[in-house]
């Protein structure tokens, strides 16, 4: 082991938290490696959630959740601007029919120093004309934002790589030994050396903690199911609409997404780590939707998905391991995890014993601008310069071949159809990849110079085809 091969910090787990930690540590000049077993970053809870940057009125004051949520919320606008990631400051309303409940929530908001207002039905109706009849009041939180959770995570990780960090995917941890204050991390692919290790493995936290001989925590998994709606504007939802828990139980939320769709959900069911949708879950959402706005037409739903949140007690765990020196434990990052991630990164940086001061002359990520987002004049010009932009791959989302090529040539190199989808929205429209799936596969083959059989939908084991025709052995 030469000195050059030793990473200052090795991060296990490439969700939004791991990516933010990687980004921050790289920016203060540390040599870092992030490993993940998946074929892309943001394939767990970070890709399947509501995509909300919470204002912070909700968490119990003085908890880690409250502190990190509020700090994270403050960090987002600047961070997204730097990364060129869209953030819509649309605000949020928490709808209800009980003034006392509203008062409690309002007080909590004030305690957490979040900008909140109390609204009556008339005020809400001005913003939300299709409001359900029973709603009488709402808490308005000005500083609630929407963001693409996966594109944010990808961009955070990409920016780190651009500035010298290393991301290695499809890594399986075998063993971790500490020798002379240096961790020897053995994976099925390679041996890595690191001075400190951050466990941000999400649902896999305990498996990693075991290898690190660090604290394990009882983890609870909760599945949240969602409907995604087409961009057709049947009804007007200009901001995130939550519902207060009522006699009828905990409600669901409806929110615009940064791409112009709507999300409706989530349920919250005790589960294993399987991300599946169930008829019970979908029915629950269908029933509860009426308690928010009227006239939701489920014929316009273009997808249903679920994500699994990892919960460890009432609060987040972000701490220095007391039993494994040099290890940082991050566990139970459920909601508001996406919001808190940049703040968790700062906290981890301090726990690792570093200052938050960033290096100078860091590189900026090239801002993603999809062809469809350009003005007509710029589209005409781009088409003349590069024929790839004249060729539309995904017709529902109007994604060009040029957009797909850009997606495949970002700092982190990916080779799966879903990874392309998360980077440029190809396949995210109403036909759900019916037309573009094989076209995206063809582009991956070309850019990565791999065989058809090596292209995956998502992770290892999800290869898009088995063989050429007539080579199937079905004995």
């Amino acid at each position: 082991m030469s000195k050059n091969n030793v990473f200052d910090v090795l991060i296990v787990g490439g969700g939004v938290v791991g990516a933010c930690v990687l980004n921050k540590l790289t920016r203060i000049g540390k040599k870092c490696l992030l490993i993940d077993k998946a074929s892309d970053v943001a394939t767990g809870a970070s890709k399947a959630n509501s995509g909300l940057v919470h204002a912070g009125y909700d968490p119990k004051p003085n908890t880690l959740k409250a502190k990190l949520n509020i700090r994270g919320n403050k960090l987002y606008p600047k961070l997204c601007k730097r990364l060129g990631v869209k953030l819509d400051k649309c605000g949020a309303l928490v709808l209800g029919d009980d003034e006392t409940q509203l008062d409690n929530l309002y007080q909590r908001g004030l305690e957490n120093k979040v900008y909140v207002e109390k609204w009556d039905r008339k005020q809400i109706l001005e913003k939300v004309p299709d409001l359900a009849d029973h709603i009488t009041c709402a808490l308005y939180a000005r500083d609630a934002y929407i963001v693409s959770p996966y594109f944010f995570t990808i961009s955070v990780a990409d920016e780190a790589v651009l500035n010298g960090a290393k991301v290695s995917l499809e890594e399986d941890l075998v063993s971790v030994e500490k020798k002379d204050d240096i961790f020897e991390v053995v994976t099925k692919k390679a041996i890595y050396y690191a001075k400190q290790i951050v466990n941000s493995a999400g649902a896999g936290y305990n498996e990693v903690a075991k290898l690190l001989k660090a604290e394990e925590y009882p983890l609870e998994f909760r599945r949240g199911e969602y409907f995604v709606f087409d961009k057709i504007k049947d009804f007007n939802v200009p901001c995130t609409l939550f519902t207060m828990p009522t006699k009828l139980g905990k409600g669901v939320l409806i929110t615009p997404t940064i791409d112009g769709n709507f999300l409706l959900g989530p349920t919250s069911t005790e589960s294993d780590t399987q991300t599946k949708v169930t008829s019970e879950g979908l029915d629950e959402i269908r029933n509860k939707a009426q308690l928010i706005v009227k006239n939701i037409n489920f014929r316009n739903a273009i997808r249903q998905f679920s994500g699994v949140r990892v919960i460890s007690g009432d609060d987040f765990v972000v701490e220095k391991s007391k039993v494994a020196d040099g290890v940082i434990n991050i566990a139970g990052i459920c909601s508001p995890g996406l919001t808190s991630a940049p703040a968790i990164a700062e906290m981890v940086t301090k726990l690792l014993g570093f200052s938050l001061k960033e290096k100078e002359n860091l590189k900026l990520l090239k801002k993603r601008v999809l062809f469809k987002e350009l003005s007509k004049a710029k589209q005409i010009q781009l088409c003349k310069e590069n024929k790839n932009y004249c060729s539309i791959v995904c017709k529902c989302e109007e994604i060009t071949k040029g957009d797909v090529i850009e997606a495949l040539n970002r700092p982190i190199k990916v080779a799966s159809v879903d990874a392309v989808k998360r980077r440029c929205n190809a396949g995210m429209g109403r036909c759900q990849g019916g037309f573009c799936f094989t076209k995206v596969v063809a582009q991956i083959i070309k850019e990565r110079k791999i065989a058809y059989e090596q292209v995956k939908k998502e992770n290892r084991g999800s290869e898009v085809c088995l063989s050429d025709i007539r080579e199937v052995n079905n004995d």
Partner: protein, 407 residues
Amino acid sequence: MIKTDCLVIGGGPAGMSVALSASQNGSKVVLVERDEVLGGILNQCIHNGFGLHYFKEELTGPEFAYRFRKMVEKDKNITVLLNTLVTKIEDQKVEVVGSVGRETIQAKAVILAMGCRERTAANISLCGTRPMGIMTAGTAQKMVNIDGKMPGKDVVILGSGDIGLIMARRLTLEGAKVHAVLEINPTSSGLRRNIMQCLEDFDIPLLYRHTIFEVVGKDRVEGVYYGQVDENYQPIQSSKKFLPCDTVVLSVGLMPEMNLASFVPVSRVTNGAIVNEYYQTSKEWLFSCGNILHVHDLVDNVALEAQQVGKFASLYAQGKLPLQSKPIEVAHTKDFGYVLPSVVYEGEGEVEVKFRLKNKVVKKTIVAKCNGVVLDKKFVLAGVPGEMLKLSINKNGAVGKIELSVE
């Protein structure tokens, strides 16, 4: 800006046929196709059974497309723009991206001929995980017939639409084992000949009133829980069984997608535009034909319909379409799925009305009446919802409303 008389969107059978007809009726035509070749979905339908009505011989999909393509290529009044996608339609101006770069095309008449798309897993709220191996029959067909790749070797097909039936046979011929075709309805929407030639000949079971309850598998499909449904299409849990497989092929219906022209009223039944006798939508310059108007049973019928519409659009572009007289509503009893067009105009001559039955009928007569007077009737020996039927109505003297009924 490109200017033309008629702009046809879509270069499949409907688009090629409508373009040829518009040209033959004296118009300059621009035909826009998003793919690299004309032919649309026919290019991947390498099985036979096409052209029996139109060409009076049995052709494969690519052969059927080839005949039209040759005619289009020879026609000097038709300009074909390949690799070109329409992104917006607004007041006779159409925005495109493609081989001509980023352009605007202005046309006197615009004809929608984009075909339809397959309904997805989301459209039927398919439960379970989202691994590799769940795909529409069309995607599976493209992988096998165009890319030469096998999507899987142990297959369950959900839905018995024609493409699903065709793919059951196709995948079997390529070495896969198709374990079952599950159909939630008591009858299949697929053609009888396809059920015989694609399933029965290969001993593939077709289970009516069955559906998938849940797809299982993390990265790759590992199997499905399936079973029977009751009269309300609710799963009967006691019938639930597990069937290991690596691929789920969906053939759960086709639907026109009118998002490009969302400004015109659409039928809740066909999902296509509501049109009059001349196949004009609510915008008189915007015409519709083929599967974007209503999903057809046979490509031959698509080509024939498009041929009629090409004439109307061409006449309109030249200002020669007959002035519209008083409208007559075309109504129908509950025995019909839909009747099209929904409006015809008072005057002389015959008008062709197309319809689909809601349920199977045996030895019945379809009657078109106006104020109690029978205008036309047709005896049906055995009519099924899967089949598109036609009736020629002599509209002389008809006013107000024509109603179709089954007697």
